[in-house]
Assembly symmetry: C2
Homo-oligomer: 216 residues x 2
């Protein structure tokens, strides 16, 4: 019998929500991991919880401390700069996906899950090194060499269903899978409404426009 348990990294944004719905559509029984890592606001954590509940999946919130900050996402004194993908933006959190994946791996191995889903994609990896295809290839080697699950078999799969997709494609896919986009939160700021100006808002709005799908 195929082991169909999966751990899904859920941030509250539309990418990871789509990754969750992809996992569900593939027949995985999903357990979501949501990180409280000192973000500037709790909006995205609350969004992630709502999405997990809507999807009917179990979730855990893992609190981690990165006291060295070093990113405008963690440090309210730093202004969030815009980059449009041309450079590594100051929203880059050193080692973030490596940390998230390492917890997911520990969790997956403990519950005997077959896969980990993460919603990283092409737009991210123009800016964030830990979203690049070569990073995920390297991390897969870590799974094979550094876990009990990896010793002697194929280990736990790291599945990146959106990796080569642009934002509009992700939105089209999510729309087909009935991802509750209205529950997702993309804005880097934590206002009552999305700011509409940060990189994250910019790509979200552009994506919906290109996909020809109306935001609710």
């Amino acid at each position: 019998m195929l082991n169909k348990k999966a751990v899904v990294l859920l941030s509250g944004g539309l990418d990871s929500a789509t990754a969750l719905y992809v996992a569900k559509a593939k027949g995985y029984k999903c357990q979501c991991l949501i990180f409280d890592y000192g973000q500037r606001h709790r909006r995205e954590i609350n969004a992630a919880v709502k999405i997990a509940k809507k999807c009917g999946c179990a979730y855990r919130i893992i609190k981690i401390s990165l006291p060295w900050k070093g990113s405008s996402l963690l440090d309210k004194k730093k202004k969030i700069a815009r980059s449009f993908g041309s450079i590594i933006p100051n929203t880059y959190v050193p080692g973030r996906n490596i940390i998230f994946l390492s917890f997911a791996l520990s969790f997956a191995e403990s519950i005997g899950a077959a896969a980990i889903f993460i919603g990283a994609h092409a737009h991210d990896y123009s800016g964030y090194p830990d979203c690049r295809p070569e990073f995920f290839r390297a991390f897969r080697k870590v799974v094979l060499t550094g876990t009990k699950a990896g010793a002697g078999n194929s280990g736990i799969k790291i599945i990146t269903p959106l990796l080569h997709k642009g934002k509009a494609d992700i939105i089209r896919l999510g729309s087909r899978l009935k991802v509750p986009f209205a529950l997702t939160w993309s804005c880097y700021l934590g206002g009552k409404k999305p700011c509409g100006r940060c990189d994250s808002c910019y790509y979200r709005n552009k994506g919906f426009k290109e996909a020809g799908i109306k935001q609710i």
Copy 2:
């Protein structure tokens, strides 16, 4: 000018203490990371703090939560089994070194450190997959592909000075470097004195005996 800052993973045992003193001897300015990850007892955390202080190094205690347990080191209801290196023991914590290294990497990148020191070694990797040479080779690839520091240069070095050494060799080396062995704590249990019977006590005592060095 050579960047001589290093992050050292410090557990409170004699291996990581020796790794710290190796880093110091190589001229690195060390920042120790100590993890409070739900161990059965606080003895090793207290030991790590004392060792860092004795060495004159800065340290940070990082509290992390691994609520899935899945190891006798995290779950007091489980009996700590002995293995003597023949199988993966039930003290194995899934993904532990991957998690520790990912935090160290985030920290190292944030402070511009050139290296991370970890005291894993041959005796461990007969039992723990995340102590094997091939695991560290894979993790080095993660550093190169998944960090800003790795993009375009040699990245942050993962240094494993004890990797191919046996316990007696480590104790001889530590003795030469004046590692304060009396402050270190190896026993898996948290009694007033080491139990003398768990794997960790067994290897420690055997190592001192083989090295011909008297334990204080």
